[in-house]
């Protein structure tokens, strides 16, 4: 009996994982090889769906665009998130203030993603608050069109949505850095940037790694932000999949999902190779 206890104890979680993760994944892979017509799935083993993914310049372009969104968003959230975390961890001395400011950074997360995105629209629009203000100040004489329904708007929304995912883990690792290490660096003759580069940054790597995984995975899978903020003018893989589901091209959507999944897994694996996040866990 006791020999089976560990198996029994592991069983509930294994069951949950099997039912909610392994089985759907397997279904996804299986369906990606199905054939289909306008209204039905045809169980089969065809490579058409994958051939369509890899042979069309649209999918290549869409994947590249998605990577570009992910890369740019990552770079900006990293830069912003790092300095925000730095400010909270090292500049703000008073713990009460630090907690207060930290909670403040999470305030946008009290509303839904969609609302946070939609809120940008009246702000950035042609006759939006920003354009009207700038015109009112005489800074520009015609509205800035690139502010909304553009890649700029998409990136802006991503940064707005996801910077916190970078701030939190980076802040967490920074808070664990012994301040005496910074003094030790200063004592050894390190300037501000040298301390940052040689001490703080390497010690923040696990946090940066976790934040990067969050941001990259979230952006790679997004479809709502790209559609809303680009005014439907930009494509992302997620959006492409969502369109295919809308048109009931499930096998095509499944094939795309499998490719996207593989790509995201590779990205995460690459990040894990570069950074050992286990220190954080």
């Amino acid at each position: 009996m006791s020999r089976w206890m560990p198996w029994l104890q592991a069983a509930p979680l294994a069951l949950v994982l099997a039912v909610f993760l392994v089985v759907p994944m397997a279904m996804l892979v299986v369906v990606s090889f199905y054939d289909y017509d306008s209204f039905s799935l045809i169980p089969d083993f065809v490579l058409t769906n994958y051939r369509e993914v890899f042979s069309s310049w649209v999918t290549w372009q869409t994947y590249l665009k998605t990577l570009w969104f992910a890369g740019l968003t990552w770079a900006i959230t990293l830069l912003l998130g790092f300095w925000l975390a730095y400010f909270l961890a090292f500049v703000v001395r008073d713990p009460t203030w630090r907690m207060l400011l930290f909670v403040l950074t999470t305030v946008p997360f009290w509303t839904s993603n969609l609302i946070r995105m939609i809120a940008w629209i009246p702000f950035l629009g042609r006759n939006g608050i920003l354009n009207n203000t700038l015109i009112g100040l005489g800074a520009i004489d015609r509205p800035l069109e690139f502010l909304l329904f553009s890649d700029f708007a998409v990136i802006l929304a991503f940064v707005h949505l996801y910077t916190l995912f970078m701030v939190v883990p980076v802040f967490n690792t920074m808070m664990r850095i012994d301040h005496r290490l910074l003094e030790a660096a200063r004592d050894a003759g390190a300037g501000f940037w040298q301390t940052l580069w040689c001490v703080i940054l390497p010690l923040c790597k696990p946090g940066i790694g976790i934040g990067s995984i969050f941001v990259v995975v979230l952006v790679m899978g997004d479809f709502a932000t790209v559609r809303l903020m680009s005014g439907g003018q930009s494509a992302s893989v997620g959006l492409m999949i969502s369109n295919q589901i809308g048109l009931m091209q499930y096998p095509a959507a499944a094939a795309n999902a499998v490719v996207l999944l593989a790509m995201v897994l590779l990205l995460v694996a690459a990040m894990l190779r570069a950074i050992d996040i286990r220190k954080e866990l």
Binding site: S56, V58, G246
Partner: protein, 424 residues
């Protein structure tokens, strides 16, 4: 044959018993027949266009049974009808969708001998033409997919028979919406959507099946593409149309693409866009915010769409009786008037007229100036006295339909190319 029918009925009765009694004591005996029709629930799926609660409330009042509405978007209705037909009883579905859904066998044909007002239907649905000498529009016209020869037919009859795929309920003629205060000049053609003067201020809807039709209207108007049948394009025609769109997109003609009703309203109301594909009630919604917006009649004519009620294959027995009651009720006037007042058209005009005031009928259907303020169904003032409906009378609008929303033979190819346009 008789055997099969019995079996079907039996299964239907069981399903019905399940629906009526919930879980529990199903003995297999048709005790259900003793139940009153008031215990019947019809589950209907449809779009927000006609999936409106006042209709369900009126059904309860007039017929006694419950109409349970599920509202989703056009694609999802077709999707669920084709893949999860048993999860509802009535599909409120578009004609171009039924072209794809009917062959799957999810929907049973409607026996027109049980429809009292069948001969009062607007002839668009029974002959394909509004008047004997008007043109039959291109694309998936309701007539072309409206009838089947037999209960088990997988293809459409193409002529009037006693079996209908959908009972028509609502239809309209679509055109471009404009902001008359911002376009700065009269708009008269579909090609005006691509006028460089509106660079960065135009939009088109991003639902491939409908968007491609608007694009075709524009391309034809601009003289870029000549179509054999806009509703069933060849690959070459699709290529040319998409190339035309991509060129415009790269030149920065479009501000955005919209997918939902609300998006189209917001784009127009905020002034981000001054000319775009639009739906009639969206124009009304912009206007109700006090912002001028016109549903502009154009020289080339309208793109039309229509939808109807389909009865799912599994419905039978008392529930089927209730479904026919409901179909007949839909044509009997109240619903028609209700829909006409929102700027749509009802399938039987006579009965709707009896349920509308003279002023309402004159304004909505005859193109006459309103003699008193026109109110929306919820009682808000939509138009002041003296206003005239964009595009004028019913005959003028529906008589100038040049194509219907459609599903093409090259559907899959078209969608692929449309995605290229969006990704470009």
């Amino acid at each position: 044959m008789h055997e099969t029918k019995t079996a079907l009925t039996r299964r239907g009765a069981l399903a019905l018993a399940g629906a009526a009694l919930g879980s529990g004591a199903i003995t297999g005996f048709p005790t259900i027949w003793a139940q009153n029709i008031k215990d019947v629930t019809l589950r209907q799926i449809g779009t927000g266009v006609s999936g409106l609660n006042p209709i369900a409330e009126q059904v309860k009042k007039d017929l006694g049974f419950t109409l349970q509405l599920t509202v989703t978007d056009t694609d999802a209705v077709a999707q669920r009808a084709a893949t999860q037909a048993r999860s509802f009883d009535i599909a409120d579905i578009e004609y171009f969708s039924i072209k794809k859904v009917y062959p799957t066998g999810a929907v049973q044909p409607i026996d027109t001998t049980r429809i009292k007002l069948i001969d009062k239907l607007v002839p668009i649905f029974t002959t394909g033409k509004l008047t004997p000498d008007s043109q039959m529009g291109q694309g998936t016209s309701p007539f072309s997919v409206g009838f089947v020869d037999s209960r088990d037919a997988k293809s459409f009859a193409g002529k009037r028979t006693e079996l209908m795929t959908l009972l028509p309920t609502i239809y309209n003629a679509d055109t471009l919406g404009i902001r008359p205060d911002l376009v700065g000049r009269p708009i008269s053609h579909w090609k005006d959507l691509m006028d460089p003067a509106f660079k960065g201020r135009a939009s088109i809807l991003n639902i491939p099946g409908i968007g491609i039709m608007d694009a075709a209207m524009v391309a034809e108007s601009a003289g870029v593409v000549k179509y054999g049948d806009k509703g069933n394009m060849t690959r070459e025609e699709i290529d040319k149309t998409i190339a035309f769109l991509i060129e415009a997109k790269r030149a920065g003609q479009f501000r955005a693409f919209w997918k939902t009703f609300d998006e189209s309203v917001n784009l127009m109301a905020s002034g981000e866009v001054v000319i775009q594909s639009m739906w009639s009630p969206a124009v009304a919604a912009v206007r109700s915010r006090g912002i001028p917006c016109t549903y502009q009649p154009l020289a080339e004519g309208y793109r039309a769409w229509g939808s109807g009620l389909g009865v799912m294959r599994h419905v039978s027995g008392l529930q089927l009786d209730a479904a026919y009651e409901y179909l007949n009720w839909y044509l009997s006037g109240w619903a028609g008037a209700f829909l006409n007042r929102q700027g749509y058209y009802s399938a039987v005009l006579e009965t709707a007229k009896q349920n509308m005031s003279e002023n309402e009928w004159g304004y909505w259907m005859e193109g006459k100036p309103a003699t008193a303020p026109i109110l929306s169904p919820d009682g808000r003032e939509m138009e002041k006295a003296g206003a005239v409906r964009d595009g004028g009378a019913f005959a003028e609008r529906m008589g100038r339909v040049v194509c219907w929303n459609s599903v093409m033979d090259q559907d899959r190819y078209m969608v692929q190319k449309w995605n290229e346009f969006i990704a470009a």
